[in-house]
């Protein structure tokens, strides 16, 4: 029994039944499939998380973001600036208690370098309803190269607990089609 010492003292010499062997081999091969699937997706898949990261400080990151806001602000939404940066440019977004700043207006099918960092605590960048989720740390500047392939209004939820106003923390990304219209 499993609660008593093995009956055969040399239990490691007992032969293993084919049933068990086959299952072990199947499970092992399946593990290999899953392992190489991740590597294969790095080579051929279109959704891989960037690893490009820089150290930064809240002040430095805020300064860069603010410069972009000053240059490319097109309008406001509920007092929050909406920025329409040039296609292909470096775009900055701050996570802070309790807002994603600023709102962005991007063009469908174009590629942007999205820089993410936090000013105070950790935050969770959760783009809905697309469902892209990335952790955002203070002191680290994470650069994602993204290509919005749908036009429309998208919201960024914070999905890392960041204090009592956490559930009010939202942001916006508007994606227009090539003529500049948000459907």
């Amino acid at each position: 029994m499993a609660i008593t010492p093995p009956t055969a003292r040399l239990w490691w010499k007992e032969p293993v039944h084919r049933t068990e062997l086959v299952w072990i081999i199947v499970a092992f091969l399946w593990g290999l499939v899953m392992f190489f699937m991740m590597i294969w997706w790095h080579a051929t898949g279109e959704q891989n998380l960037a690893t490009e990261t820089y150290r930064t400080t809240p002040n430095a990151f805020y300064a860069k973001t603010e410069a972009m806001v000053q240059q490319y602000r097109v309008r406001d939404v509920n007092g929050i600036p909406v920025v329409r940066p040039p296609v292909g440019s470096d775009v900055y977004m701050i996570g802070r208690m309790w807002l994603w700043y600023p709102a962005l207006e991007l063009v469908k099918g174009q590629t942007y370098r999205l820089h993410l960092s936090a000013l105070d605590l950790q935050h969770g960048f959760s783009l809905q309803p697309v469902n892209i989720n990335v952790q955002v740390h203070p002191g680290y500047q994470h650069v994602l190269t993204i290509t919005p392939d749908q036009a429309g209004e998208f919201s960024i939820v914070c999905n890392e607990y960041c204090g009592l106003g956490h559930h009010t923390m939202l942001g916006k990304i508007y994606v227009t089609d090539a003529s500049g219209v948000t459907p």
């Binding site: 029994m1 499993a2 609660i3 010492p5 093995p6 003292r9 239990w11 490691w12 007992e14 032969p15 293993v16 039944h17 084919r18 049933t19 068990e20 299952w23 072990i24 199947v26 499970a27 399946w30 593990g31 899953m34 699937m37 991740m38 590597i39 997706w41 898949g45 959704q47 891989n48 998380l49 960037a50 690893t51 990261t53 807002l99 993410l116 105070d120 605590l121 969770g124 959760s126 809905q128 309803p129 697309v130 469902n131 892209i132 989720n133 990335v134 955002v136 002191g139 680290y140 500047q141 190269t145 993204i146 939820v157 914070c158 999905n159 607990y161 009592l164 956490h166 559930h167 009010t168």
Partner: protein, 560 residues
Amino acid sequence: MSEATFRTCPTTGLKVDLNAQKLIKANAVAAVVFLAIGGLFGLTVALTRWPAVHLLPADWFYLALTAHGLDVLLLWIIFFEIAVLYFASSTLLNCRIAAPRWGWVAFWMMLAGGLITNVAVLQGQSTVMFTSYPPMMAAQHFYLGLILFAVGALVAVGIFFGTLVIAREERTYEGSIPLVTFGALTAAIIAVFTLASGAVILIPTWLWSMGLISTIDPLMYKLVWWAMGHSSQQINVSAHVAVWYAIAAMLFGARPLSEKVSRGAFLLYILFLQLASAHHLLVEPGLSSEWKVFNTSYAMYLAVLGSMIHGLTVPGSIEAAQRRRGFDKGFFEWLRKAPWGNPAFSGMFMSLVMFGFLGGISGVVMGTEQINIIMHNTLYVPGHFHGTVVAGTTLAFMAITYLLIPLIFQREIRFPRLAKWQPYLFGLGVAGISLFMMGAGTLGVSRRHWDITFADAPLDFSYPEAAFLMLALNGLSAIAAALGGLFYVVVVVASVFFGRKVEGRVALEAPAGKSAVASYGSSESLKIPGTLLLVGVFFVAFVLYYFVNWKYLSDIWPMR
């Protein structure tokens, strides 16, 4: 040191050290108390998530969520695991327990630590979630309590190792240690790594909270903290797999299909499970993809291999035993005629099935580097770990309680009808909690979130309607699970304190069929078609669900 005194168990013939028995009782009782407290917090969390009920105000919701995580994930489970370690070493090996006084030191340290941290949370200055990610800071005594608890647990694990050494020296058993003790040893080895990692990160964080250290790097914290946070879940896996084997042995006299294979599977846990700290860092900046791929897959899924092996050998050993006992017809007579009215069996078997189908598959899928992008920090995460830690570990621990009460506490089970239904109610509720949270997570709903309607936010957003339905169903499931949990606590308290004293033998074994057939277990005569069918269904579900999620991933915005 005083001489150890023993009683002989009339049911098993094992010599039980009375010091060990007292320690097992104390740790198990503390575990159940924290389960009751933590479970209650959990119910309030689920009822707040249910938009139509929305029970607690925001500050209390986040406080309750922090307390829920600490009390059930840490205190209930580790106290119970210490009881299991003492049982698997001292009792199963017929041996006196090493240094019982240190056992009490460990117990009081753990209890004091647990209480201090609970007080810190209830004072309201430590609403930092179970994970307490910096730069968010809790009160000093929040960390102090955790450190005390971890050091106490480490002492208890040391006593387990000491007992193994004594048993070997005093030759209290023949040959090798039993498989269940081997599983407990696996849990203990992982526990050393876990608790040491906890000390390594919590001590500097404590110093930081006192102002003695200026900063704690948030990424470094996460890396080391999860070496405790995730590895402690691997203690659970090892411990509850050992519990599955123990219940199968006690009820059916089941022996492992192959000692070598089952022990090899535990060995894979020791070697590879700890890499899973990476599961929590897959969408973090600053870590390479190579690091993520290697670690998140436990080096090519070798720990998953271990679990898939147990997934065959545990039900397989029951099937083989049942067939030998006469239930040999067709694919499933062995399972149909199993003692479904015995909560030790029904709890154990549901734990096995749900750990595999709900917790296991979802964990591997979510832990795939790229797929994590569509799941990280959504409700999918708690959905997954309620499948592993609650449906898997907690249900298994509840199941073995029904055997420990007559054997160790020497009391009859009070309210046997309540006990009979308890695992079903709890299991059904937890299955619902797990599934509906995973459903909401698939729709993008954030975890640790008070208001999915975003009523107070400066911008407008709402999750899809289906998410509201999922959270309502989650609330209903939580009510069922909480009732099941309440039944458990009532049965345990009533039996332990007011149960009739057990005299003589306890009838543990499930009734046998007509006649025993030929022996099993050798490499020639193994016949487990029912189990093969079950693992076949599991495998197909696993593969399909895995690729469905790659399909979901391929639909999101291209990113690199």
